[in-house]
Symmetry: C2
Subunit: 658 residues, 2 copies
């Protein structure tokens, strides 16, 4: 009985601390935390192999708290164990019990939900937006497998949370990729925020669903220490065996366990204070007396340390130039032909980089023959590092966040439109500091024939909003890259791989002419001036650079000397652009094949910051496009053909001349 008593004693201590810290914070979720007190105790004090001094040690087993609002239980355990905390990896200190009183304060490392970048490296990922943790776990587990590490990942998922479809995606993914080193633990306390959890997420139905999905399921009492331990032992026994059936645990738990006051009413997200807190603590004390009579002084836990981490793989060596790469692939004909789709150039770059950087991994969602990650996938030396995620974009992004936490550099590719599916996951990955590269193909409207269901139109605006804020390194939360030709796409893929942080690159379906050569250097935050005029500055990116280029010729014939800037990066060097605008009498025209809020607004922001009088005309897509047979047809439809661009430029100048 001593293990049993020790777990109860410890769990009740965690419960008490959860209550006290949320009372001090004036908010938080003590009742949910109390439903996982025992599970957290067995995990963190017994089953996991890890080190409180080095909570993010590479080979340590990991706990991903998908239901992030239950975090007080983990904070409490970390305070008990003196887990090292702090934003500076070289200057951490043990978490103390008294720190718990700072929960949710502006200068506390104890954020409302798991938030590693605020100084809590025990967690690999930010969670709190529900349903994402199991995918993250799968990513961590996959990275460990690639590195031949025997690392186990425990993921606690709420029952209400299990309604999120991403959980189903992750469960399938784990089976497909034989990630038996992940253990999904469903915390079935039966209560959501408003009312009871649906019968569809009851232990009974969840068990059936999990079994149907290919899991061996242990249904346990989540407050019985031996039950919990046995389940985790069973997982430990199979976790290194890729051919085993993956395991899942359904833990029947009680929200507000240990306190009749709290477990008999809806205390979701409600801290307990004053007399009520006294009463609840008293109730817990009674439970402790009752359950820990067998506790003797030898009832301490031993935490198994992690294995020594292997040495990290070598750094990047320089990749060959685009021309050299094309020659080495017998693609000289294309090189001479002078046209290639940026999506294809991206695929070529990714494969090349894969050979030079062992950390680079590629993920795709059943469209690798469209995004051209198939070059990577089909390369025998790289295929192990290709992760086919099937049609489940949310899962793909969160898996990538997990792989990033495991030291990988994940490139995620699908149609730019379908990236939208995972915007919440992208935000969470960025909050958690993931080194995420997202490449959306078939961007904008120029994919034409498939119609609006496949067109990414508000994407530049959304990523630009992320780009407007900075991370702790002072870089934008995300860079947006829109290569206009194959040279640019090749170079920028390499730039992304070398940069540590989030990037979103848009590639285009159709072949486009080469504009650049191997000598051009592309930088995050840079742009390229393609033609130097004096009457009006045209800014474009991606496919639209080509239309704008044609417009320049038309304008030239009309006697107008226009400048053209390829704004391939957002953000960009604003001062430099303003200089060019000034050289063009302050007339600027932006052109983009998406809805507004993209480069047009970026230029508007820059111009208005200056306080000088510029005239800006923005051209973007102002209607929902429909199918058309060619990019030319669709650009005419939405008023963005080269003729339209030239006409608009003339209009701006003529109106100005009147």
């Amino acid at each position: 009985m001593s293990f049993d008593a020790a777990v109860h004693a410890q769990a009740i201590d965690l419960d008490r601390l959860s209550l006290e810290m949320t009372a001090a914070a004036g908010s938080g979720h003590p009742s949910t935390a109390m439903s996982i007190g025992h599970i957290v105790t067995v995990l963190m004090f017994h089953s996991m192999r890890w080190s409180p001094e080095l909570p993010d040690y590479p080979t340590s087993d990991r706990l991903v708290l998908s239901e992030g609002h239950a975090v007080p239980a983990v904070y409490a355990a970390c305070a008990m164990l003196g887990v090292h905390v702090g934003t500076d990896p070289d200057n951490r200190r043990p978490l103390r019990i008294e720190d718990l009183q700072t929960l949710r304060e502006a200068d506390s490392i104890l954020d409302g939900h798991p938030n590693p970048l605020e100084g809590f490296p025990f967690f690999d990922a930010a969670t709190g937006s529900l349903g994402q943790g199991l995918s993250v776990s799968a990513g961590i587990a996959a990275a460990a497998r690639l590195d031949k590490m025997d690392k186990r990942v425990y993921c606690i998922i709420g029952d209400g949370e299990a309604r999120e479809g991403q959980i189903a995606e992750a469960l399938d993914h784990i089976v497909d990729h034989k990630l038996t080193n992940v253990l999904p633990i469903f915390n079935c306390n039966g209560h959501g925020q408003v009312s009871a959890v649906s019968k569809q997420q009851s232990p009974e139905v969840l068990q059936k669903k999990l079994e149907a999905t290919g899991y061996q399921v242990q249904v346990i009492d989540g407050h019985k220490p031996d039950d919990i331990k046995n389940a985790f032992d069973a997982f430990v026994a199979i976790s290194a065996d890729e051919n085993a059936k993956p395991m899942a645990v359904i833990a029947k738990t009680v929200k507000g366990w240990g306190s009749p006051t709290m477990s008999s009413a809806n205390f979701h997200g409600k801290p307990v204070t004053g007399d009520q807190l006294e009463k609840v603590l008293e109730e817990l004390g009674e439970r402790r007396t009752e359950l820990t009579s067998a506790l003797v002084s030898s009832d301490s836990f031993t935490i198994q340390p992690p294995e020594q981490a292997p040495a990290k793989a070598g750094a990047i060596s320089d990749i060959p130039s685009f021309s050299d790469t094309m020659k080495s692939r017998d693609m000289q004909t294309i090189l001479q032909g002078g046209r290639l789709a940026t999506r294809k150039s991206y695929g070529i770059a990714l494969q090349t980089i894969g050979h030079h950087n062992p950390d680079v991994v590629a993920l795709d969602a059943d469209v690798s023959n469209s995004t051209f990650t198939e070059y990577f996938a089909k390369d025998q030396q790289l295929s192990e590092r290709f992760v086919e995620c099937k049609i489940a974009e949310q899962n793909m992004i969160s898996v990538a966040a997990g792989m990033s936490a495991g030291g990988k550099i994940p490139f995620c590719s699908t149609f730019a439109k379908f990236v939208t599916r995972a915007y919440d996951q992208i935000e969470m990955a960025i909050v958690g500091g993931a080194n995420l590269k997202i490449v959306g193909s078939h961007c904008g409207a120029t994919l034409a024939a498939d119609g609006p269901s496949q067109m990414s139109l508000p994407d530049v605006a959304w990523f630009r909003s992320l780009a407007s804020a900075k991370n702790k390194e002072g870089n934008p939360l995300c860079y947006i890259l829109q290569p206009a030709d194959a040279y640019a796409a090749y170079a920028l893929t390499n730039v992304m791989a070398e940069y540590e942080g989030a990037c979103y690159m848009r590639t285009v379906r159709n072949d486009v002419e080469f504009l650049y050569n191997d000598e051009i250097v592309f930088n995050l935050g840079g742009f390229e001036q393609l033609s130097e005029g004096r009457d009006i500055l045209i800014c474009a990116a991606g496919y639209m650079v080509h239309e704008a280029n044609k417009a320049i010729d038309i304008l030239d014939e009309a006697g107008v000397s226009a400048s053209l800037v390829d704004l391939y990066s957002l953000p960009f060097d604003e001062d430099k652009l303003l200089d060019i605008a000034n050289d063009n009498n302050g007339y600027v025209l932006t052109v983009e094949d998406n809805y507004g809020g993209g480069i047009g607004s970026a230029v508007a922001d820059a111009l208005t910051r200056s306080g000088e009088g510029f005239t800006l005309e923005q051209m973007y897509i102002e209607r929902v496009p429909k199918s058309a047979k060619s990019p030319t047809d669709v650009l005419k439809m939405v008023g963005l053909s080269s003729d339209d661009i030239a006409a608009r430029a003339l209009e701006v100048l003529q109106v100005a001349a009147v």
Copy 2:
């Protein structure tokens, strides 16, 4: 055998037309279309009760093609049946076989994927971004149930598509809400775009999962007419019985059925042309001869017409003023106290409107006690029109799109952060013309204590991008509304209900002071000037109006006379705002509690359009916020407190003075 032969003959005709139209288009998915030729034939020529002359008749059974890329099969059937098409409901004409040759052309009503607004009213919703159709079907079915219509909804889902987690969400939703009038039909042709569909989406595993989820499953050969008919007959028998077990069909099919050439290789998304087309058509001809020997002239189909539609419920009567509503609810104390959270005022408005407009329905994702849709949910007269969607936001939005197609006015509420989860679904709903109202609570950073995982920060930028484009009525694809007080929230909720089109409203967690009264009129596209100064114009919205208001007082003490505009709507009247900016010497400061790209960029766009020299300073959130105990603390953290605003205004003016 005659039904069997007739279906084969018809299906093969559809296959042939699918091949021919995609060949003419030069793109499209004939092989997928051919895998559902028989299913579409039995549905549209036999099982569905509908009218080709009135394809969107309210009581008609509906077909939702979730795997939108299979649409050539449906276009072919519609051409055979002369289904009426056209963008103007009063001026439609039958689709002809020769129209099929225009597939995907810029001026064709036959878009690449189902797209009702381009003139194809047979479809209720735009599909093509995968995984959304079953949720839409559930919404159509729920609307029909509310209207006591015996309407059946058939939904064809691809097997690869079934990997999207939203399908799992929809399956749970259908069980929870007893929507036995929806039939999910899984088209298991076994092939995705790149390669074989995962075993996790095989007929065997899908069957187990569906049964575990609570479905009775019929596994059929999707090319055997009688199998198909019998399955649909079984569905018809239970579809009106809410207490029956919902049904699902797993159809084993062949991609490129009928053509050995196409079914033995990967023809995903590849039209067949030239000699190859000849060969494939020949192969189909052989199949036809083989399978239709029993066909005699009497083998025609009879399509059952729909029931007479009931009269539409009455129009909206005016709702009482906010003050009157508060008084009638015994909330005078709050009215006198002068403070209320906008989320609460929204809840009060929604309940009030619910009583005045029978079409209004409310959906929520397990946070109705946070969004205050609980007032609607707990109202006995309204509770039938409340749809608890649990923690599954993607499904919620697509269900709402379906309910809109069924004539309802759906208000969807959850935390603004979690709305992000469904951005792709929102885009698709807007493409399909849904009358969608989205209300995100706890917006921006001022929810404070829960931290960034619960904060909506790039949301204004994203919705503003949608707002930059216009729908066929000339309105923005979506309005963004940010009420600053309870009066505004109440009024704008009513404005949303009366307007036909998409709106996104942001509500705030904390109580805020009243700024307005019952007399103020709030309009889509409007704004309110709260103070009239001459030195600098401050523009804010939502919670930030209150901080800006305090800043105005600080500035006043410093001898600066500032104007304040509450930009509660995006887009807004730009000319009017420019006039106010001019009255303030051209100095403008925008303040918003989200990342950039929101109202700051909206103002920048407006100012630069004018060509005059304005000075704009934008204040927005430039870092990832973390938890803090109060809105005040979090605004200080991100540099948006009233002191910060006043200081920045002075800086702008001083810098200008130098």
